[in-house]
Amino acid sequence: MKLAVWTYEGPPHVGAMRVATGMKGLHYVLHAPQGDTYADLLFTMIERRGHRPPVTYTTFQARDLGADTANLFKDAARGAWERFRPQALIVGASCTAELIQDDPGGLAAAIGLPVPVIPLELPSYSRKENFGADETFHQIVRALARPAARTAQVSANILGPTGLGFRHRDDATEIAGLLEEMGIAVNVVAPMGASPADIARLPAAHFNVLLYPETAETAARFLERQFGQPWTRTIPYGARATRDFIAEVQALAGTTARPDEARLRLPWWSASVDSTYLTGKRVFVFGDATHAMAAARVARDEIGFEVAGLGCYNREFARPMRAAAKGYGLEALITDDYLEVEAAIAATAPELILGTQMERHIGKRLGIPCAVISAPVHVQDFPARYSPVMGFEGANVLFDTWVHPLVMGLEEHLLTMFRDDFEFHDSAGPSHYGAGQHPGRHRGADAPWPAAAAEAAAATTEAVPAAAPDPVGGTVIWLAEAERELKKIPFFVRAKARRNTERYAAERGIAAIAVETLYEAKAHYAR
């Protein structure tokens, strides 16, 4: 038994739903109680889909237990087939149905539907959402893919995009564009947008492009084993990795064609002088392993940040993550307990967090700006505009979204110079946040529905005082003059100055902080 407050991943059947909802012509019959239908809203509200997920829930009740839950399942499967006429069905159990052991696969087979029925075994009490997506896609591919001659033109499948994936919609478009510019046809994109008939013709492609190992690596490995299709290892995230990816694709496709780089702006945006202020900003990177590792590389090598923390919540990828973290001189943080992540971020005191929606909330509490790079995400992470994070346009998007939460370069200097100006004083905050909206201080922007503004505001104010876990301990006091001096420091570095000074004082047994202590600490921590 493990106490959880917020979770990074849902149960495995939600992963299966992400696959089913991304696809066309597939239906999922899920043996589950009525409350599990909440999962529909993930897709209809967070992702704003205009269709219900293609899922029929049996919604068995207590009175059905021991009586006829098996028949209920059969009726639901038959009814779903009659109503929706899918090309194939996937069937499985949620956590509760797993306990009553009705064997959805066997029951569905027994009613003899005229389409393929794919049983899913997703252990709810040991595995999670990403596993569920990966295993579901694997089983679908295993059941439906048919041997086929390779297409005449060199072609590739794009594997991994699902419903509810972070920027999957636009990444798939962006990478398909890259491939086409290189003269490579896209055979199938799957699961997102693919029908069971499309899955059948996956083996016609010459190779596979794997965008999200979390959701499709097992399928890619299966296709390699069974149909001899090689797959790409590089995740095309950031300018450099995209170039590496292109080189990998060139080798697989036997071509020297390169896509046009004219629209890639990140390298120059980063080299231009205004970006000097980004140098060495300390970032904490956390998310699913694939996005976190890729983001760390861009942060250090393309934007000039210092990676001060790195980790992921999916243990399946602990090994590559540990190796990656070593490369930054760090110990990887591998945990799905957000309180642990919060403590690690508080102790690191970074200037920017690259994380998930959980870290966005951690950032709000600690007063540290955050940009989102990975699922789990919320409604505002599904933008109306085209906004990939992969390929060349993706690199441009990364620059914009990571730099946006920080104070602009020139603005930083002006704030220091005019900090006592009545209009331009530091508590006015960075101009792009609008009046009174410091990062970390604005009203819960993530309160899109009912829980309602009032609820959100109440909770936020209640939570704040007890919030920031103090890594040092509250034994050091500030003398009045030092406190005044601290106020002269621009607000966006003030919290760090306070923390560093307190740590410096604590380490030296200084009980009262004077102006001197402040500047000694500043000298000590100067980089």
Partner: protein, 426 residues
């Protein structure tokens, strides 16, 4: 005194269509999202699965509660192997939790489908843990499982679990039953005080030191229509119900107050003096919005059990035309006064078969559909305006001063549609 005139033909005797099929509704765990804000020294510990934890965080739609007063003890494979083990694990997690949160005085162990199916005895666990952590913390249990409860029934189960352990009294007191936002509860207490009615207690109380006592002299009135089990539990303790329409809208609030006033023998002139001004205010506020709603057809999918009283308010005070009013459970006695007032006409449905209901909805094409979050956008995409049912339990909507807000909740989707379609119409 102020008894609203029933329509020539109400819905009391309308035959009810009973449906049994697939549901699309939250389970009772959802109630934790508002109950944990209401009861300020309570912690809700769900004993369940990753699904339960995920439901709680998704249904709220927000995760801004830094460390909320709820959590899920997620059962793992090793817990399923042997029950003794699971109990020991639970004891350990509870001890750890209470050590970290000394502000917690009441702990609710909330059962889920998995804990029910493996027959984890949470009542026994609650007794054991109560003994271990007395007198500082009292541990109670109830089930919010989806195999036994839908959505608002979770609050019912929670309150019903509290009733047997409330202290006894011989005092003649009024008990308001059901969680209201504090601001609305304060309005209710002020109105009752002005009427000279008291002492008044509330269930749930905001803190454990304000728990009400009950006995044969207790008269209670429900503020929410989904509290059937709590109602029965109170009667088992000898308390007497006051039945009335629910306090939605000017008319509902007046009828609700009038029923209490009658039980307390409040003179008519005093009732008039106290309620005249807020009644006028409420009527004005509703009238400002009702223009948008008048003559519009509305269907309720079964969700919160608020459907019948709300249909009554919308039909009588806002001029809407209910087409189908579906509710998860229709409680004849509790919903009776509202059924009397609801003009005959709509189909009344109890239970759910979601696909068939949607077929009927598509045939009816009402102007507004009240439904769950999972269905809202898909219905909008089909051109049907919707109102999320969950908002009705999160937002202050009871009593006079919220009557206008309540009407506005239904008017907003229609006004928004009109705005967005203005150009097309021109």
């Amino acid at each position: 005194m102020n008894v609203p005139a029933a329509p020539v033909l109400g819905c009391r005797d309308t035959p009810v269509i009973r449906e049994r099929g697939q549901h699309e509704v939250f389970c009772g765990l959802t109630g934790i999202i508002w109950l944990h804000r209401k009861i300020q020294d309570a912690f809700f510990l769900v004993v369940g699965s990753r699904t339960c934890a995920h439901l709680l965080q998704s249904a709220a739609g927000v995760m801004i509660f830094a460390e909320p007063r709820f959590g899920t003890a997620i059962l793992e494979e090793k817990d399923l192997a042997g029950l003794a083990d699971a109990n020991a694990e639970l004891d350990r997690e509870v001890a750890r939790l209470l050590a970290r949160r000394p502000d917690i005085r009441q702990l609710f162990l909330v059962g889920s489908c998995p804990s029910e199916v493996i027959k984890l005895d949470l009542a026994k666990a609650a007794d054991r843990l109560s003994a271990a952590h007395a007198p500082h913390v009292r541990v109670l249990n109830y089930s919010g499982s989806g195999i036994e409860t839908t959505f608002t029934q979770g609050e019912d189960a929670c309150l019903a679990a509290m009733v047997p352990v409330l202290p006894a009294t011989q005092a003649r007191e009024l008990l308001l039953v059901g969680a209201l936002p504090d601001v609305v509860e304060d309005q209710a207490l002020a109105l009752l005080a002005d009427l000279g009615i008291g002492p008044v207690r509330c269930l749930p109380a905001r803190r454990s030191d304000a728990l009400p006592a009950i006995g044969p002299q207790t008269r209670y009135i429900l503020v929410q229509p989904f509290l059937g089990d709590t109602d029965a539990a109170l009667q088992r303790r000898g308390a007497q119900p006051i039945r009335a329409p629910f306090p939605f809208g000017e008319e509902g609030t007046t009828a609700w107050l009038a029923a209490i006033a009658a039980a307390w023998g409040v003179p008519a002139d005093r009732f008039e003096a106290v309620t005249a001004a807020p009644r006028a205010r409420a009527r004005r506020a509703v009238a400002a919005v009702a223009a948008t709603l008048k003559g519009k057809r509305i269907t309720f999918l079964p969700d919160s059990q608020l459907e019948i009283p709300l249909a009554r308010f919308l039909a009588r005070e806002c001029g809407m035309i209910p087409v189908e009013v579906a509710t998860p459970f229709l409680h004849r006695e509790i919903h009776g006064p509202d059924l009397d007032l609801l003009p005959a006409g709509p189909r009344l449905v109890e239970g759910q078969d979601v696909e068939r209901q949607l077929d009927r909805l598509r045939a009816d094409r009402p102007d507004l559909t009240v439904c769950g979050l999972g269905l809202a956008n898909p219905l909008e995409a089909e051109g049907l305006a919707t109102k999320w049912a969950i908002e009705l339990v999160f937002t202050p909507v009871h009593l006079y001063d919220q009557a206008g807000d309540l009407a506005a909740l239904f008017a907003r989707p229609l006004r928004r549609r009109a705005l967005l379609h203005r150009e097309a119409a021109e």
